[in-house]
Symmetry: C4
Subunit: 262 residues, 4 copies
């Protein structure tokens, strides 16, 4: 157990991996465009501010993933997307700074073969919920069945001691966080935010938006009395049926994000 | 009682009804334009996001109603309006997907001849209010007299069991919801949202906007102490007099919606 | 005591007073322009929506005041300003509909010679505060010293019975409201909103904006524990000194309102 | 101890100091541009409205600082920046009105040689937190480690009596406020707002934005139960590591502010 994670941190400016054979395995242009759009949508919908990030598993190499360089999501373009290994090493950073917390993504992709996209954010209702002792985010409405019967809360002190910066800034902490999912699709991080996973970029974005709404409604409802949450079966049926509709908000969010940036 | 409503669900892509005699009964252009405007206003005023819908009873055939195809309300145009029977069957979908929850509308029009327009939404203060045990939405200010002395809360478990997706996705559930109105003009749906009815598109839109505000104020006031709600007579007088002014917000909302979409 | 105020209501379409001698006493163009700007600012700052209004005492005839015709404040232009007597009768409506609640303004101008401008609104934090039993709006920060040691709450049931529409729709109710000020500069109206007065349009607008903020902060603070409000002397000193700065927000709000309407 | 600070107040229109030798020590253009940008960002991010101000220590004369003339931050341009001595006297006001509260800045620069920039604001969640008896702002998430283990609350009654306008309008009150920091980087001011300091303009702006968010989350979390705050060591590590990322939000905020003003 370390008293501070700063000593274990990989360099923010990543060293590229020399791997000539990889030119043939470039990710599809559509995937990169969708990832760029997702960055803009997450900002436009208030899920991320200058911090937070979304990644997607490489469509030709499941042992790689794509994530923007270290920058505000709202400003990401296709040129800013960097490829990473499942150790969190940048393949083609070319000297660009990368996110300190890329290990959130790498270790989840390693631990969960079913996961195609990961969103990490500090959205406004998730943070307060994450610090109330004994409180768990639970599915409160049909749009957020994926939240289930109580999302795990990751307490970094258990893995990193009580003097960290709360960031998932190395493989060990990423691995501890990934383990914490334990079959769930969202984990809250105490005093920090949340990480949500999905089977596609659109599903991960959808879940990040509606996890925030679920938290907001839960904060309000719990102040007034006892709350009826979804049953386990309701949650499951909602995921199955409601998430079949995610193209609808995606199209609208994309249009909104584009109108706003002119 | 079914454990999941998914097996009873009509196909999302509706089969058209072959009915040549209907060409002469096309709804008026003005009605369709007003319905399109209502979609944009409801989005612009924050009542609906990518989900939620508004319908209007056909002005020439009271056994028919008009509702957009399956899409985000903010993007609806006149070309997207579909005609439905009171069984929730699309008359002219032409292969376009329709809303899973069209049965909210069809069964209310069948049960309530006085209703001309129906709004279903998941607005931000209605959802938390809908899940607090024992809580009822009550008229708290003069703009929302129509809320009355305690809006019914529809618990889908009573009609559909405890494993549904909470959606009103078949005639049986629609009929149960419609029955739940019991003379009221708004019903809350636990863990889901609300459905509001009116004698015109403008009235239904007005009520959807102010039901949300009433819920928001009620959530805030009830945290601080005992609340003075409107009396039954005050509610009634407010409906009678304040709702005579609904052209005023309509004109403003329409202008705002048009400015924002440029 | 009447069970409903609707029977006592003046006609919404006012009859003009034939008074040829008045041509010489037209209000100054600057005053009308300031009143139009105030309408736009109050909307832009979220104090009014499609409802609510601001008036100013006529600069040449203290027995007259100026108020827009019945319309949403955001849409008011100089052509929409109507002149009224202190009985709430329109002088030059020319058949245009006027506000049902013009008697708020007329009776305050009659009762309070020091008042030059009146704002009536239903702003978002004032309404919930107005319905909590025993609660009084009190000055919580230096920008809102004018709120003082507890704003009176007008309970319309005392003057109009328990079956009104809560509107101040005749002289009698206006007079009861005006009397309720009792030296204060703001009165809350239960289940309805508030009315604020000032010695100028700018002061009344300033107070309407900051009364809303005071209510918002008070709602939040009172949920967490005992609150330190301003002392009576602090309130007084704040009014004296802080309100000397009101040109600053006015200039900014005007610029914002103009940018937003393009 | 005075019962009102108004008698001790310097004239709002400051007398310039005649000092010909100073032409050679003009602040750098970059510093002034950054200060102008900071004014716009603080408005755009909702930290200041028409009130509140940011200053920076002169880059060539540590006994001087730069602050806008008396105006709304959103409207500040390079021409509006005035130079002040550590007594709060304007060097080049040329008859322009200056802020009543410039003594917040002058006395902090005098007392804290490490401070390069000071933000004073009345942001929306700070004010309610400042008036709840016994409550202290504490670091609740990793972005706000600088808040530490409980920010001091400045009660002006201790220095100025209970009849002030709560403004820091003379050197004595500024000195009392500066002393109150006691090694912290933020002080709350009861019924008024907060003052935040940083080692650069960007750091002070960053801290003002995230202090508001910390207050917002703390208000929400404390309504629901016992809260886990950052430990002292976590706070320290967060400051050290997270604040290394402040260029990222700065770039985004600047872009946003510029897009919004067209």
């Amino acid at each position: 157990m370390c008293s501070s994670s700063t000593h274990h941190r990989s360099e923010p400016v990543a060293v590229d991996i020399d791997d000539a054979a990889e030119a043939s395995a470039a990710p599809s242009t559509e995937l990169i465009e969708e990832l760029v759009a997702a960055n803009q949508i997450l900002f436009d919908q208030g899920v991320v501010d200058a911090f937070g990030h979304i990644s997607v598993r490489h469509d030709k190499r499941p042992d790689r993933f794509l994530l923007a360089r270290n920058m505000a999501p709202s400003r990401v373009t296709a040129q800013d997307i960097v490829e990473f290994t499942l150790d969190g090493e940048a393949v083609n950073a070319n000297g660009r700074k990368v996110y300190l917390e890329r290990f959130i993504h790498s270790e989840i992709y390693r631990a969960r073969p079913d996961v195609v996209s990961v969103v990490h954010s500090h959205s406004h209702s998730i943070v307060p919920l994450s610090v109330v002792k004994g409180m768990r985010l639970k599915a409160i409405f049909h749009m957020a069945g994926f939240v289930g019967q109580g999302a795990p809360v990751f307490e970094i002190r258990e893995a990193g001691g009580d003097a960290t910066d709360l960031l998932i800034s190395n493989n060990m902490l990423g691995e501890a966080l990934a383990r914490h999912f334990d079959g769930h699709d969202i984990v809250l991080m105490r005093g920090h935010g949340s990480t949500v996973v999905g089977g596609s970029i659109k599903q991960a974005v959808y879940r990040a938006v509606y996890a925030e709404l679920n938290a907001r409604y839960q904060l309000q409802a719990m102040q007034l009395g006892e709350v009826t949450f979804l049953t386990e079966e309701e949650s499951r049926t909602c995921v199955q049926n409601v998430e079949g509709q995610i193209q609808r908000p995606w199209d609208m969010w994309l249009e909104q994000a584009r109108v706003r940036r002119g």
